[in-house]
Symmetry: C3
Subunit: 340 residues, 3 copies
Amino acid sequence: MADPRFFERAGPLTLADLARIAEAEIGVGGAPGMLYRDVASLAAAGPEEVTFLDNRLYAPDLAGSRAGACILHPDLASRAPTGMAVLLTATPYRAYAAVAQAFHPLPKRASGIHAAASIDPSAMIGSGVLVEAGAVIGERAEIGEGSTIHANAVVGAGVVLGAGCVIGAGATLSHCILEAQVTIYPGARIGQDGFGFATDAGRHVKVPQLGRVLIGEGTEVGANTCIDRGSAGDTVIGPGCMIDNLVQIGHNVRLGRGCVIVAQAGISGSTRLDDYVVVGGQVGFAGHLHVGAGAKIAAQSGVHRDIVAGQTVGGYPAIPIVEWRRQVAMLKQMARKKGG
Amino acid sequence: MADPRFFERAGPLTLADLARIAEAEIGVGGAPGMLYRDVASLAAAGPEEVTFLDNRLYAPDLAGSRAGACILHPDLASRAPTGMAVLLTATPYRAYAAVAQAFHPLPKRASGIHAAASIDPSAMIGSGVLVEAGAVIGERAEIGEGSTIHANAVVGAGVVLGAGCVIGAGATLSHCILEAQVTIYPGARIGQDGFGFATDAGRHVKVPQLGRVLIGEGTEVGANTCIDRGSAGDTVIGPGCMIDNLVQIGHNVRLGRGCVIVAQAGISGSTRLDDYVVVGGQVGFAGHLHVGAGAKIAAQSGVHRDIVAGQTVGGYPAIPIVEWRRQVAMLKQMARKKGG
Amino acid sequence: MADPRFFERAGPLTLADLARIAEAEIGVGGAPGMLYRDVASLAAAGPEEVTFLDNRLYAPDLAGSRAGACILHPDLASRAPTGMAVLLTATPYRAYAAVAQAFHPLPKRASGIHAAASIDPSAMIGSGVLVEAGAVIGERAEIGEGSTIHANAVVGAGVVLGAGCVIGAGATLSHCILEAQVTIYPGARIGQDGFGFATDAGRHVKVPQLGRVLIGEGTEVGANTCIDRGSAGDTVIGPGCMIDNLVQIGHNVRLGRGCVIVAQAGISGSTRLDDYVVVGGQVGFAGHLHVGAGAKIAAQSGVHRDIVAGQTVGGYPAIPIVEWRRQVAMLKQMARKKGG
């Protein structure tokens, strides 16, 4: 059960409610009027709680679960123990998200400006905005309606936030324009100078960084992630992207719609990722590359060349994933033979 | 000598004092009444200073050192130059820690709330707590006695800190419960949403993250490190862990007691490390893995499979370290032959 | 054109002005009196704007550019389309930096202490210093003349900043001394305890970290980068270094003059880099190594041994780059043969 110190809870909800919210079907034997109080993990859920099974790795744990109900794929329905109601859907994780949200609606948010926030008189603050203690909003910044600026965040001069943006505690923004519903996690750094300098007779001379960072609607930027602004053009992050923690995005990088960038990946300057590219954790990209739509890069890979749309690559340097797997297997076999 | 701008100094201390503090034996020729004023590195120490030798890589530097005394292993005693007193112990680094602490006791800490801190009236602040300027403490947060909240740190609503915790400057905490004596370094991010979303028809839908972060007694979390809260259960960090800077720890990860995680490592969601696992710098783990107690992972490895207790692995993907070393040597030899 | 929300603009400037500023020669057909209004990228520049071509990868784009003038190497002059003025120089990127700076002089900076900054009465603040809202300056800290402390940054007790330093928003400094003109980007962490502990009977005992961080003139430290202070001696960063975002620098590391460290690299404790070493992104170093002047380390390499001056290495573990490339090619060929 979610800790009430941190999470509000609605409910209870009937199995019929849950089926509707989850867009799922009640499996054989489920009682539509049965009441449930919360969601919980497969291992922790009790008889009054709803769980889900998405990763088939955990299917063997189903038999031992005490959950009152489980959202899962119809294929796995027969593996639920007696007495566990099942909600059947082809997309159990998506369905669970909806159910969890129903039990834990976002708390009714206060709005207003904390007395210990510092807001430049020239800034424009939309209606229903919440600014917490210690937040600093600079000259001519514009904060869209219903946005939240958490404690000790800094929104620099001229920065523009669309409606419903959330800026995490301690995050800092400069030289950037965010569309609506963008979420910036704590400690993220957006819009600082990129790593651009010219070396002249052993001296590194900084090149003025005259671009911006543009972030599309609904994108999330993880904790302590850094996105440098463009040098002459802009750094552009498309709408609906999910960017994890501690990611580095260099100047002039362009991400399409819906890209997923896992933690600690680094994308060097001027590299372009088309729509729905998926980048694993700790991947590194050289600069000035092009990655086609839907390409997937395995964790820790080092990408030194363009990648065509839809391709999956891995390794250091990155090559088509089947080739890389073949190399790994071959090496293993050879070393064993030699060692033997 | 430690810079008095930054460090207070006690002393002087006699060789006999030092032996007692270090739980070491005075070697042949050492004068128990001889006075020493500070600790210093092997290279920098002068006749009134105490140094130590732990890493045998530096043993050849012993002869040229001007240190008045040196803490070292009995095996190396004979390599100390004439006139250098020696303190003999099987654990010289541990002994040095005690001696350094004796010369530099932690300054008598002030307590009190700075006028420029923002503390919600519903927060509970223990006795002897120090809250520096710009720190923000949210609703219903509980700060254990003798804790320090450094400048511009943020302790979110409902967060609980045990006695003697230290929250570094600019760090941010939410949805977490810390036991006693936990140290969070500057800029660390604890308790934000994990990277959990369901993808539905090309749209990434956020899955509510309803867990917490629990951190055990005496654990340290490095600068700018991120620990996401659990999705349904909790993210759990055991007692006595040492976590370095810029580490990423995903939702639902569980670390046992005394784990060591070196800088820039990344542990993906739901992976479990048992007690005393040692993870090298920049190591990456896939999610949903299990690593047995006492396992060691070489720096930069990529871990894709479970690791049994006590095993040492390396490489990308990680394999038993002797196998990996054999592969590296074999490749080198083959490429040389071919190239030749 | 640079967005006037964020950047001030001077000008217009004549081609003759630009040639003088860029230390370049006007190519055949250029009209010295022609006026230009701004800089822009090769792709975006229009007839009243100046662009540059440095990376020869983009030479084919020259023909389609609408830029009024282009700074480039004399070798490429003939590839400029008719009507585009050319400014010829052997160092086009350096020349562009000067021209961009001429169009966008740094705004006349205000000075003064924001009412919402917290400055200890014992701190010494030089003339012309700007301290933004929420910044915190500790006891006995010294801020050199003309320095800027951005919003919510923390300068700890005793810290010394030379003239003209810039401390980014949300950055935190302790136990460090910065020479003149040092720039610390947002969220960087300087001077916290290093990762030093002695393990005794399963317990990790912290070793007091009694050194400092010293940073040389003109060095830049990227966003969310961490530099730990020395344990007994100091951590020393030479003058004129360029350190990118999310870099980890351990205790007692020493960097010479003009080193370049790309994003997410990690340098373990006590490793020394001589002058002008270039470290690629995500590179990792073991501790206690020595890297000679001018060495270059390819991105993502793992350095386990000393590197001699001038050498270029790559791979995991890192070896001379030609050897590494040979291994990569050999593996590829072998796996294809086997797979085929």
